[in-house]
């Protein structure tokens, strides 16, 4: 067991534990904080796979911006354990089944992947480095990339329009 393996298992434990806490904790603020911890663990995994750019962007965008907005909403609406509305039983059941189906599909899709036994690619894989990623995005995938940026722009304009009402 070398150091990358120890890191891998540690990060996996943090990610799974954090994700479980998100679902199980009664206080929504704790849920958000656990989700942030999960994102950190996932970023650690990205770094182990030598995808530093992905790791740091995951932190900036998800842990840094989106989760702050989540916290904002929760704090402003002052959601507490007492006021949190309980979803009905059938909705919970449906959610569990849908999530289980998604897990099944993911496992089935990744079962045949050739990298399923690789834990870490420290200093090996180079697709996640910013230089290669940038070249791939602006050469092969330039049209999907630009289209998605237009999509983001329209979402932004839409948010402003809704906010002005």
């Amino acid at each position: 067991m070398n150091i990358t393996e120890i890191l891998f298992w540690l990060l996996t434990a943090v990610a799974l534990g954090g994700a479980l806490l998100v679902v199980t904790s009664k206080n929504p603020v704790y849920s958000v904080l656990a989700l942030i911890a999960t994102f950190f663990a996932l970023s650690g995994h990205y770094i182990l796979l030598n995808a530093q750019f992905l790791a740091v962007v995951n932190l900036i965008v998800y842990a840094g911006a989106i989760m702050v907005l989540f916290l904002f909403v929760i704090m402003l609406m002052n959601l507490n354990t007492e006021t949190e509305p309980q979803k009905n039983k059938w909705l919970k059941l449906a959610g569990t089944i849908a999530g289980g189906c998604f897990l099944l599909v993911l496992v089935a899709a990744l079962r045949e992947a050739d990298s399923k036994s690789t834990m870490a690619l420290v200093g090996e894989g180079d697709t996640g480095l910013i230089q290669n990623l940038g070249k791939a995005l602006f050469n092969e995938y330039v049209i999907p990339f630009e289209i998605s940026s237009v999509l983001f722009l329209s979402a932004m304009v839409g948010a402003v329009v809704l906010g002005k009402k």
Partner: protein, 357 residues
């Protein structure tokens, strides 16, 4: 048995480097509080602290001792875990920035060549932005956990202010990255200190202006210290805090100030580059270690100047109103940064491909 393949000397080297940099940052932050009061005294035609030791130099020690001795109060209705987590997070995120900053070129100890940088990762600037965006949590969690309406309002203000100014800051950095073509801070400094290379301030004056304004807002310093506007919010997000937990919040602000000063020096003013001197030929004539000390000193002098600018502005310019702050951030800074980015992109394109018409 678990066998760990770790180079012990490497770990030791990094541990000493981390310890050294953290203690230096803490020391600088400590004396920033003293310097702030001296500068304030000078601006207001007073003496400033002058009782404890010569020139009041022991004043930070006395203040620290006072904060340690104060009673630790945790409000009954607060969320105890998060209440303690808040100041810890603020302190930690403030310190984490120092990991990617190059403090000097190299030194040679016991035949080992040691880089004076904790981690030279190829996404250095993005790492700093990630840490900066984590800085919001210290304020938000502390403000919310206090269970005080004023604290909560201040925390929300602080968070929205930091998010808004982060955007303009990122855009101003993008223009810089287009010129240097690298995200690694070490490469950026080396490009500036190469012979014939100019400091980035010569190419990016507008970018620097945007960056410094955003740095003020990120550090919650006057004129953008809305999260602790005492005439509206009593004492801001750390209203319920006492003793060293309050000290952590106040101290984190000074560490943030130091780190952004170092960052400004690194990105726009040549980093550890000694001005008017060719560093490479200096290394040949004076030896590597002595030059590294001089380089570190040069970086610290540049940073000290920016810390002074922070204080100068604080005691000169009054606080913004909240709507003015948001107006400045979204309607002035971001368009200016976009404009700067556009101009830089055009210039870079023409320089690389020639005039197309």
């Amino acid at each position: 048995m678990i066998q760990l393949a770790i180079d012990l000397a490497f770990v030791l080297e990094k541990a000493i480097l981390i310890g050294g940099i953290i203690s230096v940052s803490l020391l600088v932050a400590m004396y920033s509080t003293w310097a702030e009061r001296k500068v304030a005294g000078f601006m207001q035609d007073r003496l400033g602290p002058n009782r404890a030791g010569p020139f009041g130099l022991f004043q930070p020690l006395a203040d620290g001792l006072k904060l340690f001795m104060k009673e630790e109060i945790i409000p009954n209705a607060s969320n105890k875990f998060l209440f303690i987590l808040g100041p810890g997070l603020a302190m930690m995120t403030a310190m984490m920035t120092s990991a990617v900053i190059p403090w000097g070129k190299q030194i040679e100890i016991f035949g080992r060549t040691v880089d004076l940088q904790i981690a030279d990762i190829n996404i250095g600037i993005l790492y700093i932005f990630a840490v900066l965006s984590m800085g919001v949590y210290g304020i938000m969690i502390g403000g919310w956990a206090s269970n005080n309406k004023f604290s909560l309002l201040a925390a929300l203000r602080g968070a929205s202010q930091m998010i808004s100014y982060e955007l303009a800051m990122g855009l101003s950095i993008i223009a810089l990255l287009m010129l240097t073509g690298s995200l690694s801070l070490k490469t950026i400094v080396e490009l500036q200190s190469a012979s014939g290379g100019w400091w980035n301030i010569a190419y990016q004056p507008l970018g620097f202006l945007i960056f410094i304004v955003c740095a003020f807002a990120e550090c919650n310093r006057t004129p953008f210290d809305l999260p602790e506007a005492e005439n509206e919010l009593n004492f801001g997000y750390h209203q319920e805090y006492s003793s060293m937990k309050l000290g952590f919040y106040l101290f984190a602000e000074y560490i943030n100030m130091f780190m952004s000063s170092v960052l400004m020096a690194t990105l726009y003013f040549g980093g550890y580059d000694i001005p008017f001197v060719n560093d490479a030929s200096l290394i040949e004539s004076m030896g590597m270690n002595l030059v590294a000390v001089l380089q570190g000193l040069s970086l610290f002098l540049k940073a000290a100047f920016f810390i002074f600018v922070f204080m100068w502005v604080r005691w000169t310019i009054p606080r913004f109103r909240y709507d003015q702050l948001m107006h400045l951030g979204w309607k002035v800074m971001i368009p200016l940064a976009l404009f700067n980015m556009l101009i830089t992109a055009i210039v870079v394109l023409i320089r690389e491909n020639g005039w197309p018409f």
